[in-house]
């Protein structure tokens, strides 16, 4: 087994073509070339912290402001899921809870774990780490569901007599948190997972 780097070459991560070490950009797709992205982990951590910081107000402030003739309610992400659950919509409550709470938190933990444990083989093997990274990369965007739910509800119920639904400020910080953690995953250079394999 030879890596492009062992062979004195550099592989393009966009199109796969290989070049001699030191070539600045891929001659097929134009992507800038680097054998390993040295700033990868720094950028991962920067986006990770931004995502975590944005996730806190997303949970403290209301996501939805509902006013009906009899009441005014403000519901947070977790509160909204609990309402659905109490209403008997267990399946949908679970979708909301998984997309907005379980996936984001699992993703924060998984990215931090990958960044900390990279090349510490007694903790996790290359294949398991690679698998974990693929899952994180694939699943992160699905957290955006709740933002869309709020958008649809607010636009749909806007003019209705029975209720008015307005988006809460948490929608903004939640959307930011999802975008930042997507960036964290996208900044990760998975090639460094394999570098110590013999």
């Amino acid at each position: 087994m030879v890596t492009a780097r062992d062979a004195g070459l550099v592989g393009c991560t966009r199109c796969g073509r290989v070049h001699h070490m030191g070539t600045p950009a891929c001659n097929r797709c134009g992507a800038p070339l680097s054998s390993r992205d040295d700033t990868s982990l720094q950028r991962v951590w920067a986006w990770w912290w931004a995502g975590l910081i944005a996730y806190i107000p997303a949970n403290l402030y209301p996501m939805l402001l509902t006013s009906t003739l009899v009441s005014n309610t403000e519901s947070t992400i977790v509160g909204g899921a609990v309402e659905l659950f109490l209403h008997g919509d267990v399946g949908v409550a679970l979708i909301v809870l998984i997309a907005s709470v379980v996936i984001p938190i699992a993703k924060f933990m998984a990215i931090a774990f990958l960044a900390v444990s990279i090349n510490k083989r007694h903790i996790m093997g290359e294949h398991a780490q690679h698998q974990l990274f693929s899952v994180v990369e694939f699943i992160g965007r699905w957290s955006m569901i709740d933002v869309f739910v709020v958008a649809i509800l607010a636009s749909l119920v806007r003019f209705s007599v029975v209720a008015t639904i307005n988006p809460g400020i948490a929608a903004v910080s939640f959307a930011l948190s999802v975008a930042f953690t997507m960036q964290a995953a996208l900044s990760f250079d998975p090639r460094i997972i394999w570098d110590d394999e013999k």
Partner: protein
């Protein structure tokens, strides 16, 4: 399964015939032929390297054009119709995107519009721009590498399918308050998601980059 090349094997192979796995950097010899629907998988990390489909470009173009038509239909027909206490209200997809347009939430409105409308449409246009000249036997478009790179980079940010699940959740949430009937735009948008997933299954990066490269030499 592609066996990564060994040091001895690699020595005489021209650079053109080698590929590095973008996920683990393992060096492979480009297989001379991969059957349609077959996959060349990295022997080290298991990532799919090549998965060509015969007639892929024509199908991608047809599906992308269909998706564009469906998007236009979805934007300009009623999306959801709400009835409560004898009163009607309805929302189009644009209304959903503009839900956050009051005050400081305006940037979120723009982001939602980008995720569900602008980015999906832009990706379709970029893919058509890249592939139409290649299928027509003309030289590749001048900006084809930039266009296709951008289409690939935008992929995670194209969220039409997530929006559809969001609609389903919203319908359940509002069910207690009112009756909601999905309009033609709802079905058009659902079909759009299906067509886009199908289109992505025909996209093989190596096949497209190789065609752009060959088309440029003309």
């Amino acid at each position: 399964m592609q066996k990564p090349v060994s040091m001895e094997e690699f020595a005489g192979v021209p650079l053109d015939e080698l590929r590095a796995c973008p996920h683990c950097d393992a060096l492979h010899r480009l297989p001379s032929h991969v059957r349609s629907r077959a996959k060349a998988v990295c022997g080290r990390c298991g990532s799919v390297l090549i998965a060509p489909r015969s007639g892929a470009f024509t199908r991608i173009i047809a599906l992308a054009a269909t998706a564009l038509i469906l998007m236009v239909a979805a934007l300009f027909s009623p999306f959801l119709d709400l009835t409560a206490a004898g009163m009607h209200s309805n929302a189009s997809i644009l209304d959903a995107a503009m839900a956050f347009s009051q005050g400081i939430m305006l940037p979120l409105s723009l982001a939602v519009g980008a995720f569900i409308i602008v980015i999906p449409v832009l990706r379709l246009l970029l893919i058509l721009y890249t592939l139409v000249p290649l299928v027509a036997g003309r030289p590749a478009a001048a900006r084809a590498p930039v266009a296709f790179s951008l289409a690939e980079a935008l992929k995670p940010w194209s969220m039409a399918e997530i929006f559809v699940i969001g609609v389903a959740v919203a319908l359940v949430k509002v069910a207690g308050l009112a009756t909601v009937t999905p309009g033609p735009a709802f079905w058009a948008f659902g079909a759009l998601v299906f067509v886009t997933v199908l289109q992505d299954s025909f996209m093989d990066k190596e096949q497209i980059w190789a065609a752009i490269d060959a088309g440029r030499a003309k």
